[in-house]
Symmetry: C2
Subunit: 122 residues, 2 copies
DNA sequence: TGAACATATGAATAGTTGTTCAAGTATAGT
DNA sequence: ACTATACTTGAACAACTATTCATATGTTCA
């Protein structure tokens, strides 16, 4: 906040920028919401994770399916699946020694759609 | 691809997992689309940039407004605005020595809405 | 012209992130 | 019990990112 002379009281009161910043401060998103939003978008903001989520679009898949499809080590896939799991974007079910992963959230594919609209326009 | 004995031809042909991976490979998103998607989401996946975009929701703001609002140096804000500019998420207009930034894309706020739905549910 | 202001930019640095590698658990088949 | 398979996990390392600091550009006002 800049210091103003007493001759400038009126200026300060009517200074539109001061008002705007003040109003905006009241309307700001809560800190935890901002961080949660950032977390989700950051999570979806990785090529490997995008490919995994997209592959799971129709049906559940096991780690080795994903490993073959993306041509990456199952360790790398497993690490990324953990990230997706931690953010509740995928869920899993065990069957013997294989683990099947599937999407855990309806919004993700909507987000994809919106993102694609942005990407494909121009 | 695992090697199979000739006695197992039928198994290979009818192995559902092999079929699934093959089908998925055909349906994969194009590499450049995947990368562009990742770029957008990564760009929106930062708390500072989220706050900037949210502040610009209603009206254009200059760098020093944003600097005051977010209580960060104008240099930091400027760096982030460049990232947003590079990804075509904000545009700017100069008026004297001040530069006004505003949203350059309709989809961004839709993405925010979707993201918020995910965040606020549970 | 000179001082103050608004913004931009390059380099540096601390923190974060994705993949690999090596080792671990757990289940299935022989 | 042994071996192979499916997956997970921790550590390590390289690549990337956000902020700071110092400096530069361009504009306004006196």
């Amino acid at each position: 906040m800049t210091v103003k002379s007493e001759f400038c009281d009126m200026c300060e009161i009517f200074n539109p920028d001061q008002d705007i910043v003040g109003m905006l401060k009241e309307n700001e998103l809560a800190t935890d919401v901002v961080y949660k939003l950032a977390e989700i978008f950051k999570t979806i903001g990785d090529p490997t994770r995008i490919r995994i989520l997209y592959a799971l679009k129709e049906r559940e898949l096991c780690v080795c399916d994903l490993s073959e499809l993306l041509e990456m080590s199952s360790s790398a896939i497993s690490h990324q699946l953990r990230v997706l799991r931690n953010h509740k974007l995928v869920k899993f079910r065990k069957e013997g020694r294989t683990v099947y992963y599937s999407l855990d959230d309806d919004h993700v594919m909507c987000l994809f759609g919106q993102g694609l609209q942005h990407v494909l326009e121009d």
